[in-house]
């Protein structure tokens, strides 16, 4: 009897090893703006027998904070959402585990800011000044072609920017001025202040309260926003419109390029699936899904960009950019410098 039971037990144990496994879990930590089509994720889940849980942790800075705090016991398997302004900090904190994805072969080198492939580029976007087309047409105003044009008297009081200390696009615009004007950036901001530039706390306020071409119908016809915002104005227009009421100013050095990265968190217990997910993020189907979900541009040149995107978003040919290491070292100093000029 005893022998029978133990052999039955052993048999069951052996059989269970052959039985099909339930879906393996994968946790992905992202910032709040992350979005993806449901059917794409379901497809990935069924193709790989995995169940994905997404967790949103605030904006890029908040998410990075949480990842750094918990690096010894990571909250998730994959982290998406660190951008080039925070990249250096993320790499120094050693939260990622390197992974040389085969999909990287398709990605142009200009986006591979980490040569050790700990953080892999997924998408890019430009922080640009959006302008109200009808305002400029009605008032016969020429468009500013460069950053220094914004200090001209005909644009007095027409620009609203965000505080770089509290807003990510605000910081990106400040970095654009630093990259273009280097040490003269404080003088530039002094001139902007004399030209009555309006400063608010966040993108939401600037866009929906101050910008004239949004639903807020505010007083300023120029706002620091994203290069993809004009497309969103078409996609989410009510009633539908054929062309965007806004466009971006893409003169040299006027926009700041942001690249967003994903990486496998060090200490993950689901390495194999995490790698598959990274491949998925860099792959054609996700890259093509991104523009209309997150309003960013794909890094994979094989991904087709939707027509509405091509027609309404202007991609700058010479966006401003700074080395992530330089940003990490100087960020605080630049923000303090800005604050001392704008709020003495």
């Amino acid at each position: 009897m005893k022998n029978l039971l133990s052999s039955l037990g052993l048999l069951l144990l052996l059989l269970s090893a052959c039985a099909p496994q339930g879906p393996r879990p994968l946790t992905v930590l992202t910032h709040d703006s992350f979005s993806v089509s449901e059917n794409l994720i379901r497809q990935f889940e069924s193709d790989n027998n995995v169940k994905i849980s997404f967790v949103k942790g605030g904006d890029a800075g908040s998410v990075l904070n949480k990842a750094i705090l918990t690096k010894d016991a990571p909250l998730a398997d994959v982290l998406y959402g660190v951008d080039n302004t925070f990249l250096s900090r993320a790499l120094d904190a050693r939260i990622y585990s390197p992974y040389e994805s085969p999909a990287l072969a398709d990605i142009p080198d200009e986006y591979k800011l980490d040569d050790q492939n700990r953080a892999l580029p997924v998408d890019y976007g430009d922080v640009c000044i959006n302008y109200d087309k009808s305002y400029f047409a009605t008032n016969n105003l020429a468009l500013p072609q460069s950053l220094s044009d914004l200090t001209k008297p005909e644009y007095k009081g027409l620009l609203v920017v965000e505080d770089p200390a509290t807003s990510s696009p605000g910081l990106a615009f400040l970095l654009a001025t630093v990259a273009t004007l280097e040490d003269g950036y404080q003088d530039y901001w002094r001139q902007l202040k004399e030209n009555d530039v309006v400063v608010v706390d966040s993108w939401e306020t600037a866009y929906f309260t101050n910008f004239s071409a949004s639903s807020g119908h505010g007083p300023q016809p120029m706002v620091v926003s994203y290069g993809s915002s004009p497309t969103a104005e078409v996609v989410y227009a009510d009633p539908p419109v054929s062309e965007s009421p806004t466009a971006s100013l893409v003169g040299d050095g006027m926009c700041f390029r942001q690249v967003e990265f994903a990486g496998i968190l060090a200490g993950t217990k689901n390495r194999a699936i995490a790698e598959k997910f990274i491949d998925f993020l860099l792959g054609k189907s996700f890259q093509e899904d991104m523009p209309l979900q997150m309003f960013v541009s794909p890094v994979n040149p094989k991904a087709a960009v939707p027509d509405v995107f091509i027609q309404n978003s202007q991609i700058p040919s010479n966006p401003a950019s700074l080395d992530p290491q330089v940003i990490a070292i100087n960020r605080e100093a630049w923000i303090q410098g800005w604050t001392s000029v704008m709020n003495p």
């Binding site: 946790t27 709040d32 979005s35 993806v36 089509s37 449901e38 059917n39 997404f54 967790v55 942790g57 605030g58 904006d59 800075g61 908040s62 990075l64 904070n65 949480k66 705090l69 918990t70 016991a73 909250l75 925070f86 900090r89 009808s134 009605t138 965000e162 200390a165 509290t166 400063v199 608010v200 706390d201 966040s202 993108w203 939401e204 306020t205 929906f208 309260t209 101050n210 639903s215 807020g216 119908h217 505010g218 007083p219 926003s225 915002s229 969103a232 104005e233 996609v235 989410y236 227009a237 009510d238 009633p239 539908p240 009421p245 209309l292 309003f295 605080e332 923000i335 704008m342 709020n343």
Partner: protein, 554 residues
């Protein structure tokens, strides 16, 4: 002794686990790190300025809130008039509105293209908007009054409605004028609830974040804003932790002052049934007061919020082909759009689910906060050494920075954070001090002789509790429940935590819509905000209607 221990066991354990433990972990970690970035903190004069401004705006806001709240408390506690329950509920609704929504409401009213400015520009033929609202200290102050008046109105109003008027009558017979009665009799007797309200309002204003940021613009920085910037933008946790410690120490300090003052001023009086103090306005003076007070309430509370439903059903954009012309048309499109997942997004929030989740979290929070808060408040009415030590620490959750506490939660609970159960627990941590402070003055006002009389007449302790304590504190219980409910709906500080997209709430839905450009997104944000308004007002009205069994007006 065991009785006291039992009272404190559950609430202390709760606070220890869900407040002190995460807080201590994040503070220790920040101070223990090698980062020599404490020196990178803003210079000392700048820091002093920061502190001074934080105190200044909090003090001024509290003063204004009292000035607005006390007359309205008088109105609600002494007069009966049509529409009173709705008006009362209306004053409580702002408390849980997300700052983004309140800012949108105020901007729609007083912003550069708001109704007031448009009307003035049209009437006086001006080219630039005459009223500048956003970006001024006035905006911060008015928003604080808008948010926090309900605390004063409810706490002081409840006490006032149960105040025995005979002392006042005696004073009048002896020749005192009505202002003298107010000054010498009513206000001193109301001191416990006044002090509780002042402390709560001050702490909220002291740690105010969203209002200062959104309505004050870039030029105003308070301690809480600086903590956010240091932690989230500069990733400088030691600096953020240091500032959080300072904030907590101040909170403790104010809490200690409060306990000292309140214990001396609690006078158990003969509480009267609230309905006995209510009567319709009779004299001309009374009628004028009622009418002007209700008009003021409508202007301050209803008008800014009215912008939200208005913007959700009005489409200002011109039809296809025409540019630059405003043609307001009524449309229900925004509400229809809420139910549609146009982009097939995984993170689409079905509106009914959002409402359901918010309500479930809020109900759990109310139940938990009342269950834990009631024994604590009871123990505080007969304070011993133990209470004197514990008392000030109870307020700390309200004074702790949401950012720091959120990071503490991440450290302390790690993957447990993914459980949806943690959300009501986090909300309860904030609601608990509120509930305790709301119940405390009411419990202290029960005169012991009533209890003793009941006992002499043969009532068991449970019967004494049901027939003496419960009816007297019924209103305070309701107020505490409403506070806990609105704290949870407003999701204070939970934004600093991790969000499981499977259980979205109305607030996360609104934030999501406001974070992307486009008329449909803005419209849907307004629509969801309107739903939040309606749901909250209804819920508050329902809560106030609940009559606990046997706790009818005595």
């Amino acid at each position: 002794m065991t009785r006291r221990f039992l009272y404190w066991f559950a609430p202390s354990l709760f606070l220890l686990l869900f407040f002190f433990y995460p807080l201590i972990r994040v503070l220790l970690l920040s101070f223990g790190s090698d980062d020599a970035t404490l020196s990178a903190l803003t210079s000392l004069p700048q820091f002093i300025n920061l502190l001074i401004f934080t105190f200044y705006q909090a003090g001024l806001s509290t003063l204004l809130t009292l000035l607005v709240g006390i007359p309205i408390a008088y109105l609600f506690s002494h007069y009966a008039f049509r529409g009173k329950p709705l008006l009362r509920a209306l004053t409580a609704v702002p408390f849980m509105l997300p700052t983004v929504v309140v800012a949108a409401g105020f901007t729609a009213l007083l912003g550069p293209r708001g109704w007031v400015n448009l009307a003035l520009m049209g009437a006086f033929d001006l080219t630039t908007p005459p009223i500048t609202f956003v970006g001024t200290l006035t905006a911060i102050l008015i928003a604080h009054v808008f948010y926090n008046s309900t605390i004063v109105i409810r706490l002081v109003g409840n006490s006032w409605s149960q105040l025995d008027p005979r002392l006042g009558h005696a004073a009048r017979v002896l020749g005192a004028g009505s202002t003298t009665v107010l000054r010498e009799i009513s206000l001193p007797l109301l001191r416990p609830s006044l002090m509780a309200a002042t402390l709560l309002v001050f702490l909220f204003d002291f740690t105010s974040f969203g209002v200062v940021l959104l309505l004050g613009g870039a030029q105003f920085r308070t301690l809480e804003v600086e903590i956010f910037i240091q932690a989230v933008r500069f990733l400088n946790l030691p600096a953020a932790a240091l500032l959080s410690m300072i904030q907590l120490l101040f909170t403790l300090f104010f809490s200690i002052i409060y306990s000292r003052v309140v214990t001396k001023s609690i006078v158990p009086l003969n509480p009267r049934a609230a309905s006995l103090n209510l009567r319709p306005a009779k004299t001309l003076r009374e009628k004028i007061f009622v009418i002007s007070a209700t008009t003021f309430i409508l202007i301050l509370f209803a008008l800014p919020m009215a912008a939200l439903p208005a913007r959700s059903v009005v489409r200002l954009e011109p039809d296809r082909g025409e540019r630059g012309e405003f043609q307001p048309t009524l449309t229900l499109n925004n509400y229809r759009e809420l139910a549609v997942n146009r982009r097939g997004s995984l993170f689409y929030v079905p509106p009914l689910e959002a409402v359901r989740n918010s309500l479930i979290y809020a109900t759990l929070t109310v139940a938990l906060a009342l269950l834990l808060g009631f024994p604590a408040a009871s123990a505080l009415t007969r304070p011993t050494r133990l209470e004197n030590i514990i008392d000030p620490f109870l307020m700390l959750p309200l004074g702790a920075s949401a950012v720091t506490l959120g990071l503490g939660y991440v450290l302390a609970f790690n993957r447990w954070l993914y459980s949806p159960l943690l959300v009501p627990l986090a909300h309860t941590t904030l609601a608990l001090p509120f509930v305790i402070r709301s119940l405390q003055p009411a419990l202290a006002s029960i005169p012991n002789r009533l209890r003793e009389a009941a006992a002499v007449l043969g009532a068991t302790p449970q019967q004494v509790w049901r027939s003496v304590d419960l009816p007297i504190i019924a209103r305070a219980l309701t107020a505490a429940g409403v506070f806990a409910f609105t704290v949870s709906l407003g999701e204070f500080g939970a934004t600093a935590m991790l969000v499981r997209p499977e259980y979205p709430t109305m607030t996360t839905a609104i934030a999501r819509f406001m974070s992307q450009p486009g008329g449909l997104n803005y419209g849907q944000a307004m629509a969801m905000a309107t739903i939040l308004l309606v749901v909250t007002t209804t819920a508050i009205l329902v809560i106030e209607r609940i009559r606990l069994p046997g706790a009818g007006e005595f």
